[in-house]
């Protein structure tokens, strides 16, 4: 009997080691600020509904895990071969037991399936009439956002008002992408030739990170984005700013040179002051954004200069060509772009 208890002592010692580790992991997972893309710290109705459902399923899984693994461990410890034991009885089955362990998982699955289906219809039920509609267009490897009702558009940083339902109407300009801001909602694929939708109501002001979640080619990892949830008045101010033309400081020779260069080259692909190409993100008010190159670089002079000087060096496969620009040219462009608030 003494021998038989030893494995449990070992298990207890293992627990003394494992519990602090588990607590550490738990504590780490509890502060949402250090995990900008956590699915466990929702800040919108849809994200919260998913998180609540996941929590329920998680605890069912924990119960099943503990029961099955405990049964396994108890069995192999209790019935390990010992010379004094007689030859095992040849049992071929037991109908009652087998019915029981068919029914038990079935019962648990009902407790998972019912709230699952409720949640599906809750988060996939279409948008209310007062929803703000934003068109999302995925590109290799950046995001375009068009507010048709407000007559503005932007890229890589989506602004939405707090507390109002948002309906994203999404399509792709090239391959399949997936729109994912974990704290607001789950993913939804963004496809060529189809329109998909995502509806959520953000409940907290803040900046929420996300990125493309469907493998879309060489720089899939660099297709990041942010959603900025503004208080209602801040959002209105942002909208007003986005619709306005930014005056050029004509006393600043560098800005003027940058403007001229921009309208000779960059304008072929980028929008400015309501004109320009559509192959790249609009740069009208680019200085009002916190990041550039779809969320991989901070929006400062040094990063902008690096990006313009060698786009593929920062984002492998980037479609933006590397122009033969002098350092002065780049500095002028940077000065100009930095003034586009």
């Amino acid at each position: 009997m003494v021998i038989r208890h030893q494995p449990w002592k070992r298990a207890a010692r293992a627990l003394r080691f494992l519990v602090p580790v588990a607590l550490m992991l738990g504590a780490a997972a509890c502060s949402g600020d250090s995990f900008p893309q956590s699915t466990l710290h929702p800040t919108a109705d849809s994200g919260r509904a998913i998180d609540a459902l996941f929590t329920q399923i998680f605890w069912w899984a924990v119960v099943v895990f503990v029961v099955v693994e405990a049964a396994l461990v108890v069995t192999i410890v209790r019935f390990r071969a010992r010379p004094d034991r007689p030859e095992p009885r040849h049992v071929h089955g037991n109908t009652v037991a087998e019915i029981a362990w068919t029914m038990a998982p079935a019962a648990i699955l009902i407790f998972i399936a019912v709230p699952t289906i409720q949640t599906i219809f809750e988060i996939d039920g279409g948008a209310p009439d007062d929803a703000l509609q934003v068109e999302v267009i995925g590109h290799q490897w950046w995001w375009e956002f068009q507010y048709a009702d407000l007559g503005i558009s932007t890229a890589n940083e989506l602004h939405v008002p707090q507390g109002r339902p948002i309906e994203l109407v999404m399509r792709s300009a090239d391959v399949i992408h997936s729109f994912w801001i974990p704290k607001l909602h789950g993913k939804r694929d963004v496809m060529p030739g189809r329109v998909t939708r995502l509806v959520f109501t953000p409940d907290s002001v803040g900046t929420f990170a996300g990125q493309c979640a469907e493998f879309c080619g060489e720089s899939h990892a660099n297709m990041r984005m942010r959603v900025v949830v503004d208080a209602s008045t801040d959002f209105d101010a942002w909208v007003a700013q986005q619709g306005a033309t930014v005056p050029l400081d004509s006393s600043d020779a560098q800005q003027v040179a940058g403007r001229d260069l921009f309208f000779r080259t960059c304008i072929a692909c980028h929008q400015m002051d309501g004109v320009g190409g559509v192959l790249g993100p609009t740069l009208w008010h680019v200085a009002a954004r916190t990041t550039i190159a779809s969320g991989i670089l901070p929006n400062d002079s040094a990063s902008l200069a690096r990006w313009i000087g060698n786009p593929k060096g920062e984002k492998p496969g980037a479609k933006m060509p590397q122009f033969p620009l002098s350092d002065d040219d780049i500095a002028a462009l940077v000065a100009y772009l930095q003034s586009r608030r």
Binding site: F35, V68, L72, H92, G93, N94
Partner: protein, 613 residues
């Protein structure tokens, strides 16, 4: 079939008559083909493992630049493709080949030359695809490697010529098609073998569970592979001939690929796991000294899993926006699969309950299979729920899930099979100390590598990204995962050393070293070329544990047995198909016609070859 030859060709009493490279190339002996499958699968497993090491090294640090984005995308594409099609499936096939005829009391498979053809086509197809790692210069491309880079799931329209102009995807789509032909040929072969070649008395419900699960697997193979075949033909035509099946701007549909791929892809999961479930069902009773608990239920639940696996494919596509009704239906069907799976697990535990459990290496791997497969099963139920899946799909949470199923499950089960049947195949028992070291390193390594991925996934780390910023907050989890992967690598070194050591000076096994109840243990180790000196009559599900459970099998055949000779037509046919594949890559009609001629001539010669059975 020259029946006259049966009596005048004496049985090769020894193996001396069959040595040399040529005898292996032309062999039609299911045991030799099994060994070839096994050795090749282990080789590709090491290749895929090396790719995994590079992936984990790159992800060990945030903003790392060990490999480029391009290389990383090639690595994860080839890691997945290799492990699924070139490692796990052929390792299962190695056991199908070697073990099934012995378990059912047959002298070979139904179509021995078709069997050889399957192997050679698989080997050449695998080499063809991996040749892309050094084929760049042949296409006038700067980089050495033009390996496939569209993911193992190859989603349209990223794989179109427009978005993947290089030869990378051509290697993938043509290579996969070749491997599909090899699998289909093997599938029909084993279905025919199991239905027709069982010894007298070996009724279906007396078959070992391994053979049963292999039987179910073959049906899934011959029904699922045609679906991927169609999908791949569409893609090949889109890329080579400008058709528009997946071209949106010409009226094609990118979601068509997803339905076809996953209609194949989900049953494929059961192709990967059912053989291991069969191995574990055979191993657990031996080392518990008890028959399998609920044999019929284990068999039927395997059948049910095979059938239900067809009704769940769209759970891979919840994020594509199928609508709430489709999501609910596919979520529910997916959850239902948990029931037969759970039943199997409880039956395995009940098999051990009340037994005399010996912790020999095959048993350790089987118990490890159960312990880890449960984790993969439970995370599977989590993303069977479509809303939860919207957060978890395409993140490291899903990577954790299927690695628990495929490494914790399939691979652990296959290692159980290797340690269990190695003495039968080579006549020597693998070293127990090294075996146990292998198991514990593997068990620790697999958990250390994959458990933290649950956290990194839930905290927002997507799959298939070559870089991530430190402020994502998942650096520590990635460090632990990388460390775990290296422990698995050490485990593999121990395994390889054990194989080498055992082949050189392993302890001779004798007929039945584990005291197993199944028919394959009634013949010598390794078995004679004719397997059974007389075709046995089976009278029990556990022939060697039941008094008089099988008729006597003398050591020497009482009368001469004719065994089929070798044939080089299967391997030549396979070569012809590879030439055809090369023609596709080179876009050469002339070469294609030449290859077609080679294949036609070989098949003709094969069909009329005086091949005696």
């Amino acid at each position: 079939m020259a029946t006259t030859a049966v009596t005048d060709t004496p049985a090769p009493a020894t193996h001396e008559a069959r040595t040399g490279l040529w005898s292996w190339i032309t062999t039609t002996d299911h045991k030799r083909i099994g060994i070839l499958y096994g050795a090749t699968a282990v080789f590709f497993f090491l290749v895929g493992g090396f790719e995994a090491l590079l992936i984990r090294l790159q992800l060990a640090r945030p903003d790392n630049s060990l490999v480029s984005a391009e290389t990383f995308n090639q690595l994860f594409t080839m890691h997945g493709t290799t492990m699924v099609f070139l490692a796990i499936m052929p390792l299962s096939a190695a056991f199908f080949n070697f073990i099934i005829p012995l378990q059912i009391g047959a002298r070979d498979v139904a179509f021995p030359r078709l069997n050889a053809f399957s192997y050679w086509l698989f080997l050449l197809g695998g080499l063809f695809m991996n040749f892309s790692f050094v084929a760049g210069p042949l296409f006038g491309i700067d980089s050495l490697s033009v390996a496939p880079d569209g993911g193992w799931f190859g989603y349209a329209n990223l794989t179109s010529r427009q978005y993947s102009p290089g030869p990378n995807i051509d290697f993938w789509v043509i290579g996969l098609q070749i491997l599909g032909v090899a699998s289909l040929a093997a599938g029909f072969n084993f279905i025919t073998t199991i239905i027709n070649m069982r010894a007298p008395g070996m009724k279906m419900m007396r078959m070992p569970v391994f053979t049963w699960m292999a039987f179910v697997t073959q049906f899934i193979i011959v029904t699922a592979f045609p679906v991927i075949t169609v999908a791949l033909v569409f893609l090949t035509f889109d890329r080579l001939f400008g058709t528009t099946f997946y071209n949106v701007s010409a009226g094609g549909d990118v979601v068509l690929w997803q339905h076809l791929f996953w209609l194949f892809g989900h049953p494929e999961v059961y192709i990967l796991i059912l053989p291991s479930m069969g191995i574990v069902s055979d191993v657990l009773p031996v080392f518990s000294r008890k028959p399998l608990f609920g044999y019929a239920v284990v068999v039927y639940s395997g059948l049910l899993i095979g059938v239900m696996g067809w009704g769940v494919w769209a759970h891979h596509m919840f994020a594509s926006g199928l609508g709430p009704v489709a999501d609910s239906v596919f979520g529910a069907t997916t959850m239902l699969i948990a029931i037969p799976t759970g039943v199997k697990i409880f039956n395995w535990i009940a098999t051990m309950w009340g037994g005399q459990i010996r912790f020999a290496t095959p048993m350790l791997f089987s118990i490890g299979f159960i312990a880890m497969f449960v984790i993969g099963g439970l995370s599977g139920v989590m993303h069977a729920s479509p809303p939860a899946d919207l957060q978890q799909t395409d993140t490291y949470f899903v990577v954790a899930h299927f690695h628990y199923v495929l490494v914790g499950g399939s691979i652990m089960g296959l290692f159980a099979g290797i340690y269990y049947w190695f003495p039968k195949v080579f006549g020597r028992i693998m070293h127990e100390g090294l075996g146990k070291t292998h198991f514990w390193l593997m068990f620790i390594g697999v958990n250390l590598a994959h458990f933290p991925m649950h956290f990194s996934g839930l905290l927002g780390m997507p799959r298939r990204i070559y870089t991530y910023p430190d402020d994502l907050g998942v650096t520590r989890f990635n460090e632990i995962s990388t460390a775990g992967t290296f422990i698995i690598a050490i485990a593999m070194i121990v395994f390889v050393l054990n194989v080498i050591r055992t082949l050189r000076k392993g302890e001779p096994a004798g007929k039945n070293p584990w005291n197993s109840p199944k028919l394959e243990w009634a013949v010598s180790s390794p078995p004679p070329v004719y397997n059974f000196s007389v075709i046995p009559e089976v009278r029990s599900r556990l022939p060697l544990w039941t008094p008089n459970g099988v008729s006597e099998i003398p050591d020497e055949p009482p009368e001469p047995i004719h065994v089929p000779g070798g044939s080089f037509w299967p391997v030549l046919t396979a070569v012809g198909i590879i030439v055809l594949a090369t023609a596709g890559l080179a876009k050469s009609i002339l070469l294609a016609v030449a290859a077609g001629l080679i294949v036609a001539v070989c098949i003709f010669a094969w069909a009329f070859e005086p091949f005696e059975m």
